[in-house]
């Protein structure tokens, strides 16, 4: 009973259900989270079971959603907010950046804001504009926020539990193109720490670091590379703020090469921060510069171009080759 094979979206659903059951202060709010169960069905059935007072269809106004969630948190609730798509978080950006992120510090710790903002993110699903963005760097740059992204069903379940339990605001990026990927969830396991990276494949020649939707791709790339006789280690970073630099450093001290992969544009992306800091930490270990594979400095393209825009197997392997060529 404790171990189930669940699609990632369903694991999130179970996690929300668990939180609603366990803590009467937990609320789920957002556009269409009620009867519809969210456009991705992550909140499916929750309103039916927990009522309209706890699973709340909100007016169509993201600033309002986050702003009222802050107020509810001040009143002692633990709101879990759904933003319908990555591209629609920006009307709430002011509330997130100037209020949610800073209020705990503004009060010198006297109040806490346990608000989770769930954001389905990333591309690869053939969607129209604004439905495939990867804006994680825009949140990770902001002190006061924590930013995480699960890559599989088990992490989806547990990281959401931990995010809801956290007394800090957490921006929870859900890899929407992996919503339907199944994975085992042990609801009685002892979960790892929310902000620690995990080595998902061991290797000795090069480290691939990724999070969210790109972990699966990196595992595929490592498998192909293995056929070509290259031992590639894959790290699932899991958290973009904080970043588990210790884990990356340890891996790079072993492999001496690092490639960071994300869907977000490379320019000013999380790969930049990782490259800069790891180069500082591992200057004498690195045999090649940290390479980055990610989106281009262009608006996310129409669906028929997204395969070219997004990091794919070939682009990751190309970066692996380039790194190993140093």
């Amino acid at each position: 009973m404790a171990v189930q094979k669940l699609p990632l979206a369903k694991a999130l659903n179970e996690s929300l259900r668990k939180a609603l059951e366990t803590d009467p202060k937990v609320l789920v709010m957002g556009e269409d989270v009620g009867k519809l169960g969210g456009v991705f069905r992550v909140t499916d059935g929750l309103q039916k079971d927990f009522g309209e007072e706890r699973v709340i269809d909100t007016p169509l106004a993201e600033s309002g959603i986050v702003g009222t969630a802050i107020g509810l948190a001040l009143r002692g609730y633990r709101p879990v907010v759904e933003i319908q798509f990555d591209g629609f978080v920006f009307p709430a950006y002011d509330q997130i950046v100037t209020q949610l992120a800073k209020m705990h510090a503004r009060a010198l710790g006297k109040i806490k804001l346990p608000v989770v903002v769930r954001i389905p993110y990333g591309g690869g699903i053939g969607a129209v504009e604004h439905h495939s963005e990867s804006p994680e760097a825009l949140f990770a740059h902001v002190a006061g926020l924590k930013v995480v992204s699960p890559s599989n069903s088990s992490d989806a379940y547990w990281m959401l539990q931990q995010a809801i339990q956290s007394d800090d605001p957490v921006i929870f990026f859900e890899p929407k193109r992996r919503y339907w990927d199944k994975g085992e969830v042990d609801t009685e396991a002892i979960p790892g720490e929310l902000h620690k990276a995990r080595t998902v494949r061991e290797g000795t020649d090069l480290t691939l670091a990724a999070y969210g939707p790109m972990v699966k791709l990196c595992l595929e790339a490592a498998a192909v590379a293995a056929e070509e006789g290259r031992s590639v280690e894959v790290l699932d970073l899991r958290s973009m703020s904080p970043i588990d630099f210790d884990a990356v450093q340890a891996s790079v001290e072993k492999t001496r090469r690092l490639v960071v992969v994300h869907e977000a544009p490379v320019f000013y992306g999380s790969g930049a921060e990782i490259a800069a800091r790891i180069t500082e930490r591992c200057f004498y270990h690195l045999e090649a510069p940290v390479l980055r594979v990610g989106g281009y400095h262009a608006p996310y393209p129409p669906a028929r171009l997204e395969e070219e825009y997004l990091p794919g197997l070939d682009r990751v392997l190309d970066a692996v080759d380039r790194s190993l060529a140093y």
Partner: protein, 387 residues
């Protein structure tokens, strides 16, 4: 689509649905909405003290033709989506009168800011319907030239175009032109801060803009009561300009009310909010499943208020169009469907390099660098094949 029926024909009143929590005091504020209607669901022509309209048989037939062709185009797009030719489609089914009525009220020099559903308005503007399909097919994000038909690109971020419309209208006023601007948005959009800010700016600057809200009763799965506890047209008054609710399934009333609001804008009297009370007969988009959140009954009641049917009844009753004319229109419809189908199937995928185009008007060093890298990367595969 043209369904007979005797179900309740009076527009459902928002107040009926006001959530239990709404109080009497609030209820008192929401007086009976004054729904402007010129053509009843039964096809009877009725008078209205403030709004009237006198249309020639040609014009009446024209409106009917617009609605029929728009519906046909829309149906074709829906089926193209089912066939996998489009990634998504947002159907306007049921909203033809709101769109054709308001669209036909516009002058060429007026400017339109649509949402993603104004296919009927696009039709009135002379936009080639196939142009609308590129973004739903995934070959572009719109891509048409807004200036060639004064019809802006579809905007997906809810409400944001209302500010663009307001700014554009401020510019029209600055130019001393007597054009007007119309901004479309939905009942859900009414909750966005941007829409409220556009009301504030347009009122303060007295901008010649008409806010045309198609209240189709639903924002995806949320009924209008999740956005407001009083009728939406009343929102305008608190910002200092008039709001009016029109039967959004009555093409004549939509034309009359929009024309009057546009004239008001031209006369320098500033913005007007028009709430077109209508219904989204289909799913939100082809990705949506409305059976999860609404009852068939409701849809059935609205079918009896179909905008096309009522005008057809009127045209027939008044003998303004004969069977031959309807048949000809049917044929025209079919050929439009065929043309659209063929055009979509022939729509090429964009070149890969196109993703680097038009990021900037004046260029950007990084885009140039990435373009070159990408070209070299792609060439490396070609090289590989050669070997």
């Amino acid at each position: 689509m043209t369904v007979e029926g005797t179900a309740a024909r009076k527009p459902r009143r928002s107040s009926k649905r006001t959530s239990a929590s709404a109080t009497k005091a609030a209820g008192a504020l929401s007086a009976e909405p004054q729904l402007v209607q010129l053509l009843t669901p039964e096809g009877e022509r009725v008078q209205h003290p403030e709004y009237d309209i006198d249309l020639s048989p040609d014009e009446l037939r024209g409106l009917y033709r617009d609605m029929v062709l728009t519906r046909r185009f829309d149906a074709e797009a829906t089926s193209l989506q089912r066939q996998g030719e489009l990634g998504l489609w947002a159907s306007l089914l049921g909203q033809e009168a709101a769109q054709i009525g308001s669209g036909r009220a516009l002058r060429d020099d007026d400017y339109v800011f649509p949402t993603y559903r104004e296919h009927g308005v696009a039709w009135c503007r002379g936009v080639d319907p196939t142009n609308l399909l590129g973004m739903f097919r995934g070959v572009n994000h719109g891509g048409w030239d807004p200036t060639s038909n004064n019809f802006h690109l579809y905007t997906i971020v809810i409400g944001s175009q209302t500010l663009h419309a307001t700014g554009y209208a401020m510019g029209v006023a600055k130019d001393g032109a007597d054009s007007a601007v119309i901004a479309y948005f939905g009942d859900g959009a009414s909750s966005q801060g941007d829409v409220a800010e556009s009301f504030t700016f347009s009122a303060v600057y007295n901008a010649p803009v008409v806010f045309f809200c198609q209240n189709n009763q639903w924002a995806i799965s949320e009924p209008t009561e999740k956005q407001t506890r009083v009728p939406l047209y009343q929102r305008a008054q608190g910002f200092g300009f008039p709001g009016v609710r029109v039967d959004g399934n009555d093409v004549l009333a939509c034309l009359a009310v929009t024309r009057s609001a546009l004239e008001r804008a031209r006369r320098g009297e500033g913005p007007t909010l028009v709430e077109a009370f209508t219904y989204r007969m289909g799913a939100h988009t082809t990705s949506d499943d409305p059976t999860r959140y609404r009852l068939d009954d409701e849809r059935a009641a609205w079918e009896a208020k179909d905008p096309i049917l009522r005008l057809r009844t009127y045209l027939e009753k008044e003998r303004l169009a004969d069977a031959a004319w309807f048949e000809e229109l049917e044929a025209e419809s079919e050929s439009l469907g065929k043309r659209v189908r063929e055009a979509v199937r022939a729509m090429p995928d964009p070149e890969h390099m196109a993703m680097f185009d038009h990021v900037y008007a004046d260029g950007h060093a990084l885009v140039d660098e990435e373009r070159a890298q990408f070209a070299a990367y792609q060439a490396s595969f070609a090289d590989g094949e050669d070997k």
